[in-house]
C-alpha cells in the first residue's frame, strides 16, 4: 500500500445526500438513497454491493449519466464545484476530462466501427490542445502505458479484434487520454478471467500512482476490494450501510450485512464447513422493506430495526455504520 492519505488534504470528490429516483410503471423507485462519501486525491475508494444495491447508479449519478425519467438530487462537489448544478457546457469539460469513466463491458462501451486509435484521438481532441501529430504520438504512448503489445499496429485495430482484457486496457487508454484526476470504474474486471482481472487491477493501481488520480471502484467482489482499495463503502438497497478503511472493515465488520457478505466468501482453513450465509435475497428496489432494509434477512434485527432505518453514524475515526446493533455485530466476528 503506497497511497498517501493525509487527513489534512481536502477531498477531491465530495458526495453529499445523493439521491436518485426513477418513476416506473411499478411506482416510485429510490435507487440511491441519501448517499454520501469522500474520495481523497490518489485514493482508491471501493463501492461494494450486490445486484440492485445502487452502486452502479451512484457512479452514473455522479457523472450525471442518469436519463429521464430518473431524477438526481443532492450535491457532488468536485474541486469546489457542484457537478449536479453545473451548466452542461462546463460539465462536458469535466466529464471525460478531469473525471473519466470505464465500464464493465468494454465491447458495448467502445464504438465498434472505429479503430481504437481514432477513439483515443477523439478524446484527446476534445480535452487537450494537442495538434494532430501530437495526438497520434500521445495515443501511441497511452497504448504503451496500459500495456497493449505492438501498440503501433494495434492503434489501427477495431474493438472486436481485441480480447476482453485488451479491450478493457484500450478503454482505460481512452479514459486516460485527458489526464483525469478521478477515474470512475464500474465493475471493470467482472467480465474478465482471474489472471486478466489481476493484470487490469494492478494496471489501475500503477496508473493511480503514476498519475496520482483518485479512483472509485464499483464491484461486487470483496476480493477485489481487499486487493485494491484503500477505503470502502458497502451499499445495500440504495443506501451506504458501512464505510471505513478496508483493513478495518475486513478485520471487524460493524454492520450485519457486511459481516454476512464477508462470511459468504469461503476462506482457507475451513473447507467443507457451512458458510455464514445470509438468508433470503436482496430486495427489489420497488419493494424495499420498512425500517432498516436489511432487517428481514438480519439475525440481529429487533423491533426497532423494523420501525426506523438507522442513520449512518461515525463510530470511530474514518468509520461510519448504519446499524442499531453494531456493537453486537462487531463482537460476533466473521465465522459461522
Amino acid at each position: 500500500m503506497s497511497v498517501a492519505m493525509q487527513t489534512a488534504t481536502a477531498p477531491a470528490l465530495e458526495v453529499r445526500n445523493l439521491t436518485t429516483t426513477f418513476e416506473t410503471s411499478s411506482g416510485h423507485v429510490i435507487a440511491v438513497n441519501n448517499v454520501g462519501f469522500n474520495v481523497m486525491p490518489g485514493e482508491v475508494m471501493g463501492l461494494v454491493g450486490e445486484s440492485g444495491s445502487g452502486k452502479s447508479v451512484t457512479l452514473r449519478s455522479i457523472m450525471r449519466l442518469i436519463h429521464a425519467p430518473g431524477k438526481v438530487s443532492g450535491s457532488v462537489r468536485w474541486q469546489g464545484d457542484d457537478l449536479l448544478a453545473m451548466p452542461e457546457r462546463q460539465l462536458r469539460k469535466v466529464r471525460g476530462g478531469e473525471i473519466a469513466m470505464i465500464f464493465q463491458e468494454p465491447m458495448t462501451a467502445l464504438n465498434p466501427v472505429l479503430p481504437i486509435g481514432i477513439q483515443i484521438e477523439e478524446n484527446l481532441a476534445a480535452h487537450t490542445a494537442l495538434d494532430r501529430r501530437q495526438r497520434a504520438a500521445r495515443a501511441l504512448e497511452l497504448m504503451d502505458m496500459v500495456g497493449i503489445p505492438e501498440a503501433a499496429r494495434r492503434l489501427k485495430s477495431y474493438p472486436h479484434q481485441f480480447s476482453g482484457g485488451m479491450r478493457q486496457r484500450a478503454m482505460i487508454a481512452i479514459a486516460l487520454a485527458s489526464n483525469p484526476k478521478l477515474l470512475l470504474a464500474d465493475e471493470p474486471t467482472t467480465a474478465l478471467d482471474v489472471t486478466i482481472q489481476d493484470q487490469i487491477l494492478k494496471l489501475i493501481l500503477d496508473l493511480r500512482d503514476r498519475l496520482s488520480m483518485g479512483v472509485v471502484l464499483v464491484t461486487h467482489d470483496l476480493g477485489v476490494v481487499a486487493a485494491t482499495c484503500d477505503r470502502m463503502a458497502v451499499m445495500y438497497a440504495g443506501r451506504i450501510v458501512e464505510t471505513g478503511r478496508v483493513a478495518d472493515v475486513f478485520a471487524q465488520p460493524h454492520h450485519a450485512y457486511t459481516r454476512g457478505l464477508l462470511g459468504s466468501v469461503p476462506r482457507s482453513g475451513a473447507q467443507r464447513t457451512m458458510l455464514l450465509s445470509i438468508e433470503g435475497t436482496p430486495p427489489s428496489l420497488s419493494a424495499i422493506p420498512k425500517g432498516c432494509a436489511f432487517s428481514p434477512r438480519c439475525s440481529f434485527a429487533t423491533d426497532a430495526c423494523r420501525e426506523a432505518a438507522p442513520a449512518l453514524e461515525p463510530i470511530a475515526p474514518d468509520r461510519l455504520v448504519a446499524c442499531f446493533h453494531h456493537q453486537q455485530v462487531a463482537a460476533s466476528g466473521v465465522s459461522a
Binding site: D193, D198, K202, V246, L262, T281
Partner: protein, 347 residues
C-alpha cells in the same frame, strides 16, 4: 475425509479429446489446409471416486464446461472414453443409457434458461419422476413436496412458474429436479456463478448438506478458486483443454506444483487486505484454442519455460501419492511447501 470411504472409482475419463469444427472457408478447403476447429479437450484423464467432490477449475475457454458435458454424455467425445462403473458410456443404449442418465445428473449454470419457462415447478419435477418411474403415480405429489423441502423451498412453490422465482431459488429447483431421480453423481457446472454473493453461500451450504445426507458424488466445475477450494476434496486445474495439475485440495492450494496453478492462485485476489501484492501473477493472455501452442500449452505465458517446454508436451506425472502435475520442472513448487505451510497453519 476420503480415508473413511473405500476409494472406489465411479467415473473415469481416459484421454478424452473433443473439438468443435468452425465454419470452413472454401479457399482453405481447396488449398487442402487442415480444417479449423476449436480444440476444447486435448486428452483429459482423471478418476472420480465414489463419495468425493472433485473440483474442476480453469479460466474461460479451458474446456471445463465441455468436460462436464462429456461426463453426462450431452456431448460425445471424439477420442478417448468416459467410463461409468467401468462401462464405456458411449456403448450404452436404450434402457442402459436412460439408467446412466438417471444416475449421473447435471445442474446448469444459468438459472434463467435451465428451466422450461412454460412448465410449473410441479410439472418439471413430476416429469422427471414419472419418466424414470421413480414413484407410482399416486405418490408423486407427496414426493414433490419432499423434494421441495429437501432444497428448502416452501411447498406452495410447486404451483408457480420459474419466472416467479429469484436466481437462487431457481438453482434450488434445478437441484431438486436432479435429485428427483435419485442420482449417484451430480455434475454442477458453475452452479452459483450467476448468483449474488450472499445467495451463493446459501446454495453452497445446501449442496454440502445434500451431499452428506444423500452420499452424492459431486463434480464441481467453477472458475471461482475460493469456492472450489471450499467444496472439493480434490481439485483438477485445466488449461487449454488439458488437466495441468490434479491433487488433494489443500496440497494443491498450499503448494501448487504447476506454474499455471501458481499463477491462478496468485491472481485470485486475497480476502486479507494485509496480504496484497503489486506483482502481476501471470503475464500475457490465453492463446487461441483454435491453434494451441506446440509443446507445453502454457509455454507462451510461463516465466519458467525452457527449450524442452516448446518441443515436448509434458505428461501428468506423480508429485505425490495422489497428486499429479504436467510440467517438465518436476521440482517446481517443491521448495515452497514448508514455507507456505507455515503461513497456512500458523495459529
Amino acid at each position: 475425509m476420503m480415508n473413511t470411504m473405500a476409494s472406489q472409482v465411479l467415473i473415469s475419463a481416459e484421454e478424452v479429446f473433443k473439438e468443435f469444427p468452425l465454419p470452413q472457408n472454401a479457399l482453405r478447403r481447396l488449398a487442402g489446409k487442415p480444417l479449423l476447429a476449436v480444440h476444447a479437450l486435448n486428452g483429459v484423464s482423471f478418476q472420480l471416486n465414489r463419495g468425493e467432490t472433485l473440483g474442476i477449475v480453469g479460466e474461460s475457454g479451458c474446456g471445463k464446461s465441455t468436460l462436464a458435458r462429456c461426463l453426462v454424455r450431452l456431448l460425445d467425445c471424439d477420442e478417448g472414453r468416459v467410463r461409468f462403473e467401468g462401462q464405456d458410456i458411449a456403448d450404452l443404449h436404450g434402457a442402459a443409457r436412460r439408467g446412466f442418465n438417471r444416475r449421473v445428473q447435471m445442474i446448469f449454470q444459468d438459472p434463467y434458461s435451465s428451466l422450461n419457462p412454460r412448465m410449473r415447478v410441479r410439472e418439471i419435477l413430476g416429469e422427471a419422476l414419472s419418466v424414470h418411474k421413480m414413484r407410482p403415480r399416486a405418490e408423486i405429489p407427496a414426493r414433490i413436496a419432499e423434494l421441495l423441502d429437501l432444497v428448502r423451498l416452501p411447498s406452495d412453490a410447486a404451483d408457480r412458474f420459474p419466472h416467479e422465482f429469484s436466481g437462487g431459488q431457481r438453482q434450488r429447483i434445478g437441484i431438486a429436479r436432479a435429485l428427483a431421480v435419485e442420482p449417484d453423481v451430480l455434475v454442477a457446472d458453475e452452479l452459483v456463478s450467476a448468483l449474488d454473493v450472499s445467495v451463493q453461500a446459501q446454495v453452497v451450504n445446501l449442496l454440502l448438506q445434500l451431499q452428506e445426507q444423500l452420499r452424492l458424488t459431486v463434480v464441481f466445475v467453477a472458475h471461482d478458486l475460493r469456492l472450489v477450494r471450499h467444496i472439493s476434496h480434490r481439485v483438477a486445474v485445466m488449461y487449454l483443454g488439458k488437466i495441468v495439475e490434479i491433487g488433494p485440495t489443500e496440497e494443491l492450494f498450499s503448494a501448487p506444483r504447476h506454474p499455471y496453478t501458481k499463477a491462478l492462485l496468485d491472481a485470485a485476489p486475497e480476502l486479507d487486505p494485509a496480504r496484497r501484492t503489486r506483482v502481476v501473477a501471470a503475464r500475457g493472455e490465453l492463446p487461441s484454442p483454435i491453434n494451441p501452442p506446440a509443446g507445453c500449452l502454457f509455454n507462451t505465458r510461463c516465466p519458467h519455460a525452457f527449450e524442452r517446454c516448446f518441443a515436448e508436451r509434458p505428461l501428468l506425472t506423480d508429485r505425490g501419492p495422489t497428486h499429479q502435475a504436467a510440467c517438465h520442472l518436476h521440482e517446481f513448487g517443491l521448495a515452497a511447501i514448508p514455507q507456505i505451510q507455515d503461513v497456512e497453519f500458523a495459529p
